[in-house]
């Protein structure tokens, strides 16, 4: 508030008719709101400063690189090139393969994660002996970085000395070792298995929390009505927690889409680039120094996720209104 307006207000107050303490109170309130504004500002400032300088600035400046000829190998010419980087990416046959892989990676990881996570949550809802310990144990994958998970599974899926082939051979499920990481199809399967192993816990936790918000009488009354377990699940439990389920799935889709760590540690996108998803592809471009195209891929990812999230949320809302 400027000094001029303040003095006008003070001037006004002298001609105000009415109880004097009213005026006093409103000044106090103004003082209070001003102090409140400073508190909000002061408490938020440190985080705002860090996030603006070290997250937003590089992100925005990375976005503009998508429209420039930005290559670390030749910095003599960093001109604006419009949509050239995007055109080159769309003309690159590899990119479409990468996009296909990304969809496979997201859908292939999400569905088993969801189903196993849901089953775990249903069975963990009721208390049992050592349930807390069990929960702490299945939390284990979360303590490991995605990159290290990639390495662990790379070792277990090793074609010659890997324990997974050994177990499969011993149980008689296969007769010759599977070249897990040197065959594109098997490699894709292997990275998805690793991701499922990692991601189930998240679903289990979120769905369990949602299930615990369902009032017990709801289950009981449905049991009295003679509804079977399966029917209770589909006609009572799932509709009740639908909103949480939908949100959890959306967050997961965004997250798996953006999650290169396991692949980076496990196959590095190989064999012959066959397990690249958009974000590992982006890392590859960055490591080649091709910042312009890498940024363009990044913007495409953001756009795709934004459009997808919008449609997804709209579809959810429509269903709710029906």
């Amino acid at each position: 508030m400027s000094i001029a307006t303040r003095s006008v207000e003070r001037g006004d107050s002298s001609i105000t008719v009415g109880p004097p303490d009213h005026n006093n109170r409103s000044r106090k309130r103004r003082q209070f709101t001003r102090r409140r504004a400073w508190t909000i500002l002061g408490f938020l400032a440190p985080s705002a400063i860090f996030v603006t300088i070290f997250t937003y600035y590089p992100m925005l400046s990375g976005s503009q690189m998508a429209f420039r000829n930005w290559n670390l190998n030749d910095l003599s010419n960093t001109d604006w090139v419009g949509f050239n980087n995007f055109i080159e990416i769309f003309a690159n046959a590899d990119f479409w393969g990468v996009l296909g892989n990304t969809v496979l990676w997201v859908v292939g990881s999400l569905i088993p994660q969801f189903l196993i996570g849901f089953a775990l949550a249903l069975w963990l809802r009721r208390r049992f002996f050592l349930r807390g310990v069990y929960q702490a144990f299945i939390f284990f994958p979360w303590a490991v970085s995605g990159f290290l998970i990639g390495i662990l599974f790379r070792w277990m899926f090793n074609g010659e000395f890997g324990v997974i082939n050994d177990l499969l051979l011993k149980t008689g499920l296969i007769e010759t070792p599977i070249p897990w990481l040197s065959d594109p199809h098997f490699a894709m399967t292997a990275i998805i298995i690793a991701n499922v192993w990692y991601g189930v816990t998240f679903f289990a936790i979120m769905i369990l929390a949602a299930l615990q918000s369902v009032p017990d009488d709801l289950f009981e009354s449905s049991a009295i009505d003679g509804a079977g377990k399966i029917r209770t699940l589909f006609s009572i439990t799932i509709p009740y927690i639908r909103a949480t389920l939908a949100l959890t799935v959306l967050l997961r889709i965004i997250w798996i889409f953006n999650f290169p760590d396991i692949i980076y540690g496990m196959t590095g996108g190989g064999p012959a680039g066959q397990t690249h998803i958009v974000t590992t592809f982006m890392i590859d471009l960055t490591q080649q120094g091709n910042y312009g195209q890498a940024s363009a891929v990044g913007l495409i990812v953001v756009l795709v996720l934004l459009v997808f999230s919008t449609f997804y949320l709209m579809a959810m809302r429509e269903k709710k209104e029906q």
Partner: protein
């Protein structure tokens, strides 16, 4: 207890939960076993599921042939500093976002959430350029500053959830008694929500401890490497030496495993509070 479980149901539950537990723990078991085998034993058929002779050579080699102690110290230092500063800063921001209503609140929350959705790699190149202009490339401080920035949004949202569970009356009473707002926050609220604060601290500690791509980008010299960067170095060399790799993996996982085991209950609370209510 009306819908009691049938015997068959209980057996199915037991088998399912048991199988998943084994699947979850097996990779940990296998990496520990691998780390305790001598190089000759690792590549020997038939595979031994429990090593007949235990060797600590892989662990010893990490410290004598490589500088693993330095990497561990660097990681510990970065993660501790980051988690401490992030928890303090996010405590302030989370408090405001939980207690105050103001016009731009939605925008602030939105700005925090967006950072979680954009692929971080879009920022890697410019971040490197900026840090090199600031003279912060290949310095411990530089890495920590960046870790702080990327950890703040999530920690703030998590702490906001914990604040929302505590009644306003608590700090109002303290403020009427003459406490300043910041005094009320630290003297009255912090002790009450200590478990939530610990969970936030551990969460950002573990994330920084595990972080790879930023540290690979920003740290060049061997004496500044963190553990994940060192592990990455083990890979890019022509052949992976699985013995030392397994030993390094075990040393990396143990601290975070212990921390998560203690805090898992509160981390779960922090993660689910917002999602289920909102």
């Amino acid at each position: 207890m009306i819908n009691r479980e049938s015997v068959a149901g209980r057996i199915a539950k037991f088998i399912f939960l048991g199988t998943w537990l084994i699947i979850t723990l097996f990779p940990l078991y296998w990496i520990v076993v691998t780390s305790l085998k001598s190089p000759g034993m690792i590549f020997k058929f038939p595979l031994e599921y429990w090593p007949t002779e235990i060797s600590f050579d892989n662990f010893i080699g990490l410290f004598s042939k490589a500088d693993f102690g330095t990497y561990m110290f660097n990681s510990l230092f970065a993660a501790t500093m980051t988690a401490t500063v992030v928890t303090l800063i996010s405590l302030l921001a989370g408090y405001i976002l939980a207690r105050f209503e103001f016009k731009s609140k939605g925008a602030v929350l939105g700005a925090f959430l967006v950072t979680q959705m954009i692929p971080a790699f879009i920022a890697l190149g410019p971040l490197y350029n900026m840090m090199s202009d600031l003279g912060l490339v290949d310095t411990r401080g530089g890495l920590i500053v960046v870790y702080i920035a990327i950890s703040i949004p999530f920690s703030t949202i998590m702490l906001r959830g914990f604040f929302a569970n505590i009644p306003d009356a608590l700090e109002e009473a303290a403020m009427i008694d003459g406490c300043s707002r910041i005094g009320a926050l630290f003297r009255v609220l912090v002790p009450v929500m200590l478990p939530g604060i610990m969970a936030t601290f551990i969460f950002s500690f573990v994330n920084s401890w595990n972080e790879l791509f930023l540290s690979v980008t920003l740290m060049n010299s061997d004496s500044n490497k963190t553990i994940p960067t060192a592990l990455n170095g083990f890979i890019t060399s022509f052949n992976i030496e699985w013995g030392p790799m397994a030993a390094a993996a075990v040393l990396t996982v143990i601290p975070t495993l212990v921390m998560f085991a203690f805090a898992s209950k509160y981390i779960v609370q922090g993660l689910t509070a917002g999602a289920v209510k909102g």
